[in-house]
């Protein structure tokens, strides 16, 4: 006796993956692909435009200068992030977990806010400012320090996760014959290095892409020149496209390096398992370490506190008059994008984890992430500014698509890492009982990973909420987000209003961040 064989129609996983793949292609590949069309050049050919622009020595100098600046940001973020990451992951001191979360917080705010906070502190009119501090801030070193501190949590987290995901027996086998310091240098560091290198690459890509801080601190960079060609008196999308081509090469180079590093990354070889890791005690140095780490963390939070101070009661009082729809827009767009990315990230990430297939989709999403925002902006304008897609281009749709292209990789990779933690036998067992793809996902895969998936959704939401660079290029009238509103007001609006709005954004992010952490903690219990 056995169960009858039944012929039932189920949507297959292939169908879902095809739809998700089509979406990723539409979002991530269409913009750069359409950039290859030359209808922008009205009479002039692409080679001519390229020649006149790319043979300019000044532009290449600017390109090299942008690379140097991004390398310096990467160096500062990596030094701070690796040191803190090792301390958080491998040592024991008071307030370790709380300090790690507090240290992460600036990552979810536009770096431009930090620049604003430092300006209120060290600008010529600032609380502690004078001509010299202002000159330092409004220059390359100001950019390097502001962005270095803002992006350091990326390196910290990647260091922490990679160190915590190393099989502890590798460390224990070394500890029985070597000191903690030697084990960290000879065993843990070489295994964690590819992941940390990837983190450094992310920082480089983000700082190369950054517009808000650089424009505010009046430091000219290559992506800012492209951005300049997309609006105002220098409007020339054809030139913007020609200028974007070298950046496509940079993104392709990143992708190549990342693919070389990927097999060595801890997440990809082992998933994100949590082990009981060895932690080393500081003994009588514990208080010193706690105070030092708290000092560094407080320093990175200081500019955001300064925003509140600069706003004063008057600034907060006037918020309703100035904020308009921007906060609502920000939240709505972030919610829609996080859900949208979550859905196709679930399908593609699951396929990656279970079949180790569709690597090309992941590569494509990574390519879109590595591309400077200004370049994606040019592509999106080309792709969607047409009569037939006018509704999308003039509404919220273009922002959801643009942010989707930028942060698709977050959803895909995070879901894949999460799914790798569990064996596929749970889903295979469901299949043997006749469960199709949708039912297996809804009843088995999603409930089993629910806390992590909600965590991923929240992470994407916070990244979309903070975004300024990706959306500023193509945000349609009436759909300005809060960071865009603050950035545009900064040029000619009252200082205390700008500070108050930035503080409101910070507070909303803090509430979502803290709420998410509490929920995660509760759900994991």
């Amino acid at each position: 006796m056995g169960r009858n064989l039944r012929r039932t129609y189920h949507f297959s996983s292939e169908q879902f993956i095809s739809w998700a793949a089509a979406l990723v292609l539409l979002m991530c590949l269409l913009p750069p692909f359409l950039m290859l069309g030359n209808d922008l050049f009205a009479g002039s050919s692409l080679p001519t435009a390229l020649r006149s622009l790319l043979l300019s020595a000044d532009l290449w100098k600017l390109f090299a200068w942008t690379c140097v600046l991004s390398l310096l940001v990467t160096a500062i973020a990596s030094m701070q992030g690796i040191a803190l990451g090792v301390l958080f992951a491998k040592t024991e001191f008071s307030g370790r977990t709380a300090l790690l979360w507090v240290h992460s917080f600036p990552l979810f705010l536009p770096p431009f806010f930090a620049a604003l906070g430092w300006f209120y502190l060290f600008g010529t009119q600032g609380w502690l400012g004078n001509e010299q501090t202002s000159r330092l801030l409004f220059g390359p070193w100001g950019v390097v320090l502001v962005l270095g501190f803002s992006f350091a949590p990326i390196v910290t987290w990647m260091t922490v996760l990679s160190l915590q995901n190393i099989d502890p027996t590798l460390e224990e086998a070394a500890r029985i014959s070597a000191s903690p310091a030697r084990v960290i240098v000879r065993i843990l560091w070489p295994i964690a290095r590819p992941t940390i290198t990837f983190a450094a690459m992310l920082v480089f890509a983000l700082s190369f892409s950054e517009l808000g801080v650089l424009m505010f601190l009046r430091v000219k960079t290559y992506p800012a020149v492209i951005f300049g060609r997309l609006g105002g008196i220098q409007f020339s999308p054809g030139e913007a496209f020609a200028l974007s081509l070298p950046l496509l090469g940079v993104a392709a180079l990143f992708l190549w390096v990342e693919n070389k590093l990927k097999p060595m990354q801890v997440f990809h070889t082992m998933g994100t398992r949590s082990f009981q890791t060895l932690r080393y005690a500081w003994g009588r140095w514990q208080a010193v370490v706690t105070v030092s780490v708290a000092g560094v963390v407080s320093l990175s939070l200081l500019p955001y506190a300064v925003l509140g101070w600069r706003a004063g009661v008057e600034g907060f009082w006037e918020i309703p008059r100035w904020i308009g729809d921007s906060l609502y827009n920000s939240l709505l767009i972030a919610l829609c994008t996080a859900t949208w990315i979550g859905l196709f990230g679930l399908v593609v990430g699951h396929a990656l984890a279970r079949r180790n297939a569709f690597q090309w989709l992941e590569n494509l999403a990574l390519f879109a992430f590595m591309l400077p925002s200004a370049v994606v902006g040019v592509g999106l304008i080309l792709a969607w500014n047409r009569p037939i897609t006018g509704e999308i281009y003039r509404g919220m749709g273009i922002l959801v698509i643009g942010l989707g292209a930028r942060y698709a990789i977050l959803g895909i990779r995070a879901v894949a890492s999460t799914m790798q933690r569990t064996s596929e036998i749970f889903e295979q067992t469901a299949s043997t009982f006749g469960s199709g793809y949708v039912r297996t996902m809804l009843r088995i895969a999603i409930p089993m990973h629910r806390p992590s998936l909600i965590g991923i959704w929240l992470l994407i939401l916070l990244f979309c909420l903070r975004d300024l660079d990706a959306v500023i290029t193509y945000a349609p009238p009436g759909w300005a987000t809060l960071p865009i509103r603050i950035f545009t007001l900064e040029a000619n609006g009252p200082e205390h209003i700008v500070a108050a709005l930035a503080f409101v954004h910070t507070a909303v992010t803090a509430a979502l961040f803290a709420g998410g952490l509490f929920w995660l903690r509760w759900s994991l219990k």
Partner: protein, 249 residues
């Protein structure tokens, strides 16, 4: 002369409200091969981590070679100073190091000069039959070869004792038989002191001179492996072990 390598004196380990080891007293003498048997969750891994120095006892004292190594919440002798080696179930071969580098790591910690290191590594690789594979990375070796590297790495430092954490549990039967014979030969030849954690009574009987059985954190039996008396009040697991023991005997 001290003949006890390990002395566990009324050791208890408690995690929160859960007692993992409860009042364990155990001695392992020089040259003794002791098998430690127990069901999952019996506290075998905790006992191993305690001996290695990764876990402090909540209560009780651990002595190694007569010296107090850990007592009531404190680790006194850190792992690197205990003179022990370990072969984990997963082997824990460092993937970024060659076979040679895996073996050399512990010798550098002992500050041995290069010629002495060379000599020791050559000798042990010769003994385990891997001399030609010294430049390979662990991923380039078969399962059996990886096992041999793990045991070579454990022995090259000439430890006071070697701890084995179910090293053969995930191998196929043929390789397992081959390595068991190899282990027995090595144990006899080197007069090792070893604690061998396993689930398998046959494996324990084949390799060990003494046996300890842990059940729900308590030491249910400890003694020579030749005679294993059944007592009233033994748990189902212990009785199962006893029966299996008699069968394989």
């Amino acid at each position: 002369m001290i003949s006890d390598v390990f002395v566990l004196d009324h050791i208890s380990v408690v995690y929160g409200t859960k007692t993992v080891l409860s009042d364990v007293c155990l001695r392992i003498e020089q040259g003794q091969i002791m098998a430690l048997l127990g069901p999952s969750g019996a506290g075998k891994s905790t006992l191993l981590r305690l001996l290695l120095g990764f876990q402090a006892p909540t209560q009780g004292t651990l002595r190694i070679q007569g010296q107090c190594a850990a007592t009531s919440g404190k680790i006194i002798i850190p792992p690197e100073s205990r003179g022990l080696s370990v072969v984990f179930q997963t082997l824990a071969l460092w993937p970024h190091m060659t076979v040679w580098e895996n073996l050399e790591f512990g010798l550098i910690s002992q500050k041995l000069p290069r010629p002495a290191r060379q000599e020791r590594i050559d000798a042990i690789l010769q003994r385990v039959g891997l001399r030609d594979l010294s430049k390979r990375y662990p991923s380039m070796l078969s399962g059996g070869e990886q096992q041999r590297v793990a045991i070579a790495r454990a022995l090259v430092t000439r430890p006071q004792a070697v701890l084995f954490d179910e090293p053969l549990s995930h191998l196929d039967i043929v390789l397992r038989q081959e390595l068991l014979a190899f282990f027995r030969e090595l144990f006899a030849e080197l007069e090792l002191t070893a604690l061998y954690v396993t689930h398998d009574p046959w494996e324990a009987r084949y390799l060990s001179s003494h046996i300890a059985i842990l059940d729900q954190g308590r030491l249910a039996y400890c003694g020579a492996s030749k005679a294993l008396p059944t007592q009233d009040g033994d748990s189902a697991f212990v009785q199962g072990i006893m029966r299996a023991w008699q069968d394989v005997g």
